[in-house]
Symmetry: C2
Subunit: 322 residues, 2 copies
């Protein structure tokens, strides 16, 4: 990078001209970037919408995540919220704020990550608009849209006694990867180290560039899911939300939670899909059974109560840590 | 404020519980906050979408803007982009990131500003979802939606030779107010000063809490507007965009631009609506004639070419200035 290739030197319009060709187009786009707003098709007369921000510091470190990772994860985490409603992701808008001395290649990498995540996880979904700003804190705010294809949305509140609890995607993998980064991808002073992180890529990709099972959201809806949500704060916290909304209890089978049930319960950021299905039906897609819905409240592991544990951004992030 | 009333001490869920009751509800909301995503009605099978971020530093100073101002302006600037398509604003989603030591009252004030701006400028529009994050830089990212009510969107590209150029809303008022803030709302060291800013409120409100003519967007579409856009970067820059998209030239009448035509041409952030209309038709709403569309390219004032001037966030913000 030379100084002449920073956002400040190149300027907003020229940066946009370099980024636009990298962004994926959306099949539902009726009018794309270039006017005051985009126009997107909503064939069934409704659209699903969710928004989620990624912030330098609490959400990522530039020594660990590549620019491509940031775009990929920003797309993946939002696509997962759309999928958790049983919808098909159709479009994204992206507001990005970066320091003026950032290289243009940072934004190009983020755009390529958005493109590749859409292509891999939600073909047909693309970026229909956005906003570029300057900020001392690199910030990526994605808003994602989806099409319910005429079906009711799958809410958190529909689970019933006797339903099967099933999950599609990994459990605890993102948290395990984050632990590896904090323990091994640091220098002798405990600071994030890019060279060490690169060597650990295979063991940390679940955290840095997760691959949530987006297409299984639609399959769950078609397969009769009674309730569903995205696992972003960990199975224990998120499943307790589903249990509370449905006014039931959830009992997990520890043998179905892998070699480390506590990691599976506590780990956040997997962006897997948790859903409940009526008993006796085949589970769609890659869903696998991990427990059953019972009368009561709260969550249980092999019949014993599980205490909640998870991530609160305001309580849990220590800005001084890096 | 006590330390116990900060975002970090109160925690995300409790903060959300305090903010939700303050947010305006949306008439088009089918499913609101509380699940993985919201569901919004799109009666004509399409929706308009735009996104815009406000960042502490380049976009506002906390010594000058109240929390209510921040919510108001974040809503107003996004509503204006929806209106500029000829659409009726229906819903917002809001992603907000703030330092953990921020008082909860900051977020409450922002929520009240969002609520009051929607009520005043776009009745029926409300907040259907959002995201709270921690960041060292206070950041508000709004995504806004609109309904075209079956009409084509009014693009930048439809102006034709002979059309009337008209504007609804102020010209240069936001820039004049910003100049007053930089010159008079500072202490002896040139730093933003809250007490001085409070005394200047009447002369600075156009910058701090603008009131763009949102309902005139729909009226322009109904009234036959051939092209329209939101004046966010200044009349000179934005009108040049319309001229380029329409492959025509614009000639402004200096007598119609007020006492300070150069301020009207150069000033940004007014969020007024610029539109072109076929000649001989009554101008709708509060639109007033400021010039006419001519053959050629670029923009002119009383027949003389106007050079562009405006705001590029990457070039023009000096982070060290405060």
């Amino acid at each position: 990078m030379t100084v002449s290739d920073t956002l400040g030197a190149v300027g907003e319009l020229a940066v946009l001209a370099r980024i636009f060709p990298l962004l994926p187009s959306a099949a539902h786009e009726l009018l794309g970037p270039g006017d005051d707003a985009a126009v997107v098709a909503a064939p069934d007369g409704r659209y699903v919408v969710t928004t989620d921000m990624m912030i330098h510091g609490p959400d990522f470190r530039l020594a660990w995540s590549t620019a491509h990772d940031l775009g990929w994860k920003a797309a993946a985490s939002n696509l997962s919220d759309v999928a958790a409603m049983g919808a098909v992701p159709t479009a994204l808008v992206v507001a990005l704020a970066a320091p003026a001395d950032s290289p243009v290649s940072l934004l190009e990498g983020i755009a390529e990550g958005l493109r590749d995540a859409c292509a891999a996880l939600a073909p047909g979904c693309g970026v229909v608009g956005g906003d570029l700003s300057v900020s001392s804190t690199l910030t990526i705010a994605v808003t994602a849209f989806g099409d319910l294809e005429g079906r009711p949305a799958v809410l958190r509140s529909g689970a019933r006694e006797g339903d099967i609890i099933a999950v599609s995607g990994v459990l605890g993998a993102a948290a395990a990867a984050l632990r590896i980064l904090f323990e091994e991808a640091v220098d002798s002073d405990g600071q994030p180290d890019a060279d060490r992180a690169a060597l650990l890529r295979d063991r940390t990709v679940a955290q840095l560039a997760p691959t949530p099972p987006i297409t299984d959201g639609r399959l769950a809806a078609l397969g009769g899911a009674t309730a569903m949500l995205d696992l972003s704060d960990g199975l224990a916290i998120d499943s307790a939300r589903l249990a509370k909304a449905s006014q039931i209890a959830l009992n997990f089978d520890s043998r179905a939670l892998g070699a480390h049930p506590q990691l599976a319960l506590g780990g956040g950021e997997d962006h897997s899909l948790l859903a409940t299905f009526p008993p006796g039906m085949p589970l769609p897609g890659n869903f696998r059974r991990i427990g059953s819905v019972i009368v009561g409240s709260g969550i249980f592991l092999d019949g014993s109560p599980v205490s909640k544990a998870g991530w609160d951004p305001y309580r849990d992030w220590n800005g001084g840590r890096g």
